[in-house]
Amino acid sequence: MTVRVALIGNPNVGKSVIFNNLVPGARQHVGNWPGKTVEKKTGKYRYKGEEYELVDLPGCYSLTARAVDELVSRTYILEEKPDVVVDIVDASNVERNLYLTLLLMELETNIVVALNQMDVAKSKGYTIRTEALASRLGVPVVETIATQKVGMEKLKAAIENAAKSPKPASLTYPSDIEDLIEKLVTILSADASLVTHHPARWLAIKLIERDKEVLEMIQETTLDSKIEEVFA
């Protein structure tokens, strides 16, 4: 069985370099996302006898419904449900990059974080406590220097490991927000088709954010009025 892996990260973090390191050029396939002028790059590699299919998602800072590239990434993760999501974080700008990581955790994806450009981080004088970061996030973190092909075997091993024992990420918010999430989740769970396609908790968080796409999704259901009562 093919393991499906999605690569995601902010622009200019070395995502394509990692893609090229993992997938030999001849095995890459470049096309477009259906109906979008956004490039879709896919490819396959083998590791320990297993086949892995890699999809390079558009580089993005956020996962809103407003920008085409962000929506492509978000829709892919929600609808195609890749087995593993590799989030490439620029080690020289961790604070900025972890925002996307948290958004991916909200989506309850099975994440592996690749802390890339470790050489740049070092030259800026940063020391990163990688293990502490992994335990605080609750997701595996691998250090890489993609341009020098450093850490690629470790990354493949971490992807293999995550595929074999999937562990969806989770994020806990302060209690007032959690209370609201809980109320919304109870209401949302009544619509079986809605929550099989999207994590109920994620929908609840997006409703609190007034996310355009999720609001429209809810308007098509019968839950609309009950949800508005929660916010009233």
Binding site: S62, T64, V94, E95, R96, Y99
Partner: protein, 79 residues
């Protein structure tokens, strides 16, 4: 002292207190890391005063003057 982000001079450091505006732009500004409590430094203006470059959360961000006018900051240095 509270002032608009757009009124900072080159080298001024401030703390974000409030993001006004609405909808997509407000969300976008928050997505870029400009949230209450964030430290922000004005780097420089483009030749005609628009856009403006800032440093926030360890990276450089360029905003239109109209967007920077929607962000309130406190210039008292918070440590």
């Amino acid at each position: 002292m509270e002032t608009k982000l757009s009124d900072l001079k080159s080298g001024n450091i401030a703390t974000v207190t409030k993001v006004a505006g609405s909808g997509a732009v407000k969300r976008r500004i928050a997505d870029m890391g400009i949230t209450p409590g964030a430290r922000i430094e004005m780097i420089r203006n483009a030749p005609l005063g628009d856009p403006i470059e800032f440093k926030v959360r360890g990276y450089l961000l360029t905003l239109r003057r109209s967007e920077a006018e929607d962000v309130m900051v406190s210039t008292e240095v918070q440590r």
